[in-house]
Amino acid sequence: MTGVRTDTGTTGAMATAASADRIATPATAAAAPTARKRRRSLTDVLIAAWGVLGLLFLFFPVIVIIVYSFNTGRQLRSWDGFGFSSYENALSNPTIVATIQVSILAAAGSAVVSTILGSLAGVALARRPSARWVGWLTLLLGLIMVTPEIVNAVSLLPWFVDLSNTWNLSIFSIGQVRLIVAHSLFSCAVVTFIVRARMAGVDESLEEAAADLGAPPLRRFLDITFPLMRPAVISGALLAFTLSLDNTVLSSFVSVAGSTPWPVYVFASLRATLRPEIAAVSTLMLGLTLIALALVGLVLRRASKTTGDTNGGLAATLVG
């Protein structure tokens, strides 16, 4: 850690993964195959077995859910018979459909908000690493990243109620608004770190040249800065979207009747009756995502050869 970041304080370790691009290194993958030519030792076999077992472990409950989505019984947990009734029921259940719509809308909203705020802050942090406010902002972002969701949740609810009742800002009694705001907090920090990491490695002289040539700030931003940070912005937005879709704790505290997101619906049914419909919807969502991923994978296989994308970036991005 020593050489990596000293300015991020407690969140240094989290930021490290994202702050990757700061130091550009040539990919070392080319050197790897020669090392791998060695005869397979027992250790190698054991390690490979461990890796495969680990993957099975990760997939295990997902497979269970997929299998149980074909349960025709009334309760998810007690297997009754094989059939597709849960899929029919799920798609004809207006409540389930509504919760998915709420979730997607909230995810899109919080992705937009956190991407805008985080990208701007990321640029500012990358360009002015020694300004006085940098320490404070980094501390603030770090605090958000180490605050457990439950603490955020219990503090936001009274605040939203205060805002809508005492301050008469009725916009904060709208469930969708509350969800977007609540989900955006953590994502803001994530996007900021990703964008900062990207922009820290980029030379500022291009923008200065543009400024010297008389380009107005907005023009400079759109023509030069934005294209440079686009990959980081897209990854940040995507991550914000995913994080929001998965959020249960914050949502269950701040959501308002009529705008219940999908995870809160699942959590509530867990306490009453867990029906196979829940597994059916999850399976459908997973299936569609996988098909999309596979298509993109095929399309991009050729493209990625030339762009030199590395898998490490993928992981680094997800880690935030």
Partner: protein
Amino acid sequence: MPEKSDVRLLLPASMTGHVSRRLFLGGLLGAGATAALAACSTGSGSGGSGGSGELNIYTWGEYDDPDVLSAFTKEAGPKITIDSYGSNQEMIAKLVAAAGTSGYDICLPTHQYIPQMAASDLLEELDLDKIPNFSNVDPAYIDQSFDPGNKYSVPKAWGSTGYAYDTTAIPRELTSWADFWEVAQNEASGSLSLLEDPGELAYAYFFANGIDPLTTDEGHLEEYRKFIVEKIAPHVQTFESYPGASITGNARILAMAFNGDARAGILENEDPDRWRYVTPSEGGNLWQDNWVIVKGAPNVDAAHEFINYVLDPEVSLKELLYIGYHTGIKDIEQAAIDAGAELPELIFFTPEQTEKLVFAELNEAEQAYVDIYDELTASAGQ
């Protein structure tokens, strides 16, 4: 600098990462696919979520026949969304915290909480003129002490609390609360489910020990606290609001339960004879849940309309057959038996049983119940 052959400086290099387009595009497509799923499924659903035409009901789990709800939407229009809670405390906490912004139109508090909820400005007054079917309710269940003149509430259903056990694990016959607590510490240890309801647990102890369940005596409460935290906590496997599902799956061998939920769970079990429900001989808590309209309800008219709808004798019968609780409508018992209700003894009590049921009241012991419950959950299962 990075070129220097210094391992320390290779550390940051090891963290280098580029953004993978494949992931981003893949993810975006994934998101799009999900959106498409939602969009196409809207088509097959009943759809039509007009802002004013919605009715949000905050209720106990599995407390309405889904067919009744969809029939109402078909007849009257408002789309119904159900959220459920596991205890009155949870429901009240939500309403208090939201201070009128919860978005719920209707909720179903148990009778003893209604006076305080009304006093705390959580309830809207009912307009009984908009509920003509109120006349169908058996006079025994109206104008009760907790809500004189039915200013805020009309009855939804009433029932009692008992317990169910797996006869393959506990072959002997259990009949009382004393048996319950005794078995809980022996055969059922580690496979015991208690209700997620602070008051119910206290009542069950007081009944078993011949103490007035409505006691506020500090000595009694302390006795109860000691008993449940020290004697019972180690044997609890889980706290549930609706153990019916675990009864169906034989997940536990002893579960404290409401009669209707236990009945539903037993009926769903592949071998219903395996389970027995006990209406304890010492007596039990008699509770009555009531329809109320929440203060700040976005759709007061639809709420009245819905309450009126469910008080129709035929609709009420459907509800009763689904939930397994007496709905308080005149002559509903005979109608249910004529309709061939299964396990009627778990829905309707004998006069001797009814005599021993005690109508719960909210008193100063409530805070103690909650505190003791917190202590119990923290020390359970150790």
